[in-house]
């Protein structure tokens, strides 16, 4: 048995398919009329809402930071949130840009590489949010209460800071443990596939 024998088998299956194949023209029409939706990567309303939310957060943080620049108890947490919003906003814009530019007519290796690099990027972008949640939560609390209610809870928090540090570290550890336990396999598969593509492209 060699590759030419397999080629012969492949061609033989053509005759069989020609006799047994039927096309559902009604369903084909449904596709052309846009009544059947795709489940692959698409520009979704969720992506846009997420993008707008991060943009609003960025503007609010910037405004808050300008007004409290001389008060480190507010300007420091606001800066943390500002950096975080910037990273997330950048990640979302980059992700949407890649989805927008992605065309299934692109050569297979090129598109698969782009698509899976984007998935890896989205993986890190999504998980960054989880990992920084404990830090983010304290900053959000300080800035949010000051911004919305004009109350300074920093003083109270600084008195009990060790409780918050322990709680945050505990929550952070659980999140990291869950990510490593459940999602690392997904990241591992993504990396393995990207390596496969790289090897496939290499001329040996």
């Amino acid at each position: 048995m060699n590759l030419d024998d397999l080629k012969l088998m492949w061609q033989e299956s053509d005759k069989d398919l020609e006799n047994n194949m039927k096309i559902n023209t009604m369903l084909l029409k449904e596709v052309t009329l846009g009544r059947v939706k795709s489940k692959l990567l698409n520009f979704t309303l969720g992506n846009i809402i997420e993008l707008i939310s991060y943009f609003i957060m960025l503007v609010l943080m910037l405004k808050f930071l300008i007004h409290h620049i001389d008060m480190p108890q507010f300007s420091i947490p606001a800066s943390i949130l500002l950096i975080f919003s910037l990273i997330e906003l950048y990640g979302n814009i980059k992700g949407l840009e890649l989805i927008y530019k992605m065309k299934y007519t692109t050569p297979v290796t090129e598109l698969q590489k782009k698509m899976h690099e984007m998935r890896r990027f989205k993986f890190w972008n999504g998980h960054l949010m989880l990992i920084v949640t404990p830090i983010f939560a304290i900053s959000l609390l300080v800035v949010g209460i000051k911004g919305l209610l004009n109350l300074d809870i920093f003083y109270y928090l600084s008195q009990n800071m060790w409780v918050y540090i322990i709680t945050s570290s505990f929550i952070g550890s659980i999140i990291v443990w869950l990510i490593v336990r459940n999602d690392y396999k997904e990241l591992d598969k993504l990396n393995a596939f990207l390596n496969d593509i790289k090897e496939f492209e290499e001329e040996k």
Partner: protein
């Protein structure tokens, strides 16, 4: 071209190339439901990009790119999570197996046993080779150089030879 003409043209081309669409889908998804979903997804993407198709180039080259890209993406998505929701009662391209002889069935199984063992990218390469595309066309569809395509095919040939030689000697 108006919508009806575009739609008619698309239907004709899909009917002409349905055999290839089915064979690619069948090589990536052996499960019937998944395969029907994949065929549906391939046709959606072919339709979505149909207005970008330049008829100066071969329709098959464009179609291979779209269907293989969809097949690999779908295959990897399906492996990640089995939650593909849109289930149609019927499928766009269907095959009635009634007339398939036991001998043909056995050959298909052997062929797919070999294809299933390949990585997603090598699977795409070998499908294009089995479809009798030239090295130049394969290189163009996959985004590789002709030399690379030739060396990969000769390596796969050697692997098959060794595999069947070892099987015979066991």
């Amino acid at each position: 071209m108006n919508f009806t003409a575009l739609e008619d043209n698309f239907s004709i081309l899909i009917k002409e190339h349905s055999r290839i669409i089915y064979k690619i889908a069948n090589s990536y998804c052996r499960d019937v439901d998944d395969r029907n979903d994949l065929i549906q997804e391939m046709i959606i993407q072919l339709w979505k990009t149909f207005d970008q198709y330049n008829n100066k180039y071969k329709f098959s080259t464009w179609m291979y790119r779209v269907t293989l890209n969809v097949a690999i993406s779908f295959y990897r998505k399906e492996k990640r999570k089995k939650d593909y929701s849109v289930k149609l009662d019927d499928c766009i391209i269907d095959v009635i197996d009634e007339n398939t002889s036991a001998e043909v069935e056995e050959k298909f199984n052997l062929l797919h046993q070999f294809i299933d063992e390949l990585t997603e990218m090598n699977k795409a390469l070998i499908i294009l080779y089995l479809e009798e595309n030239s090295y130049k066309e394969i290189a163009n569809i996959l985004g590789l150089t002709e030399t690379n395509v030739a060396s990969k095919i000769s390596r796969i040939k050697e692997n098959i030879r060794l595999k069947f030689f070892n099987n015979k000697n066991e």
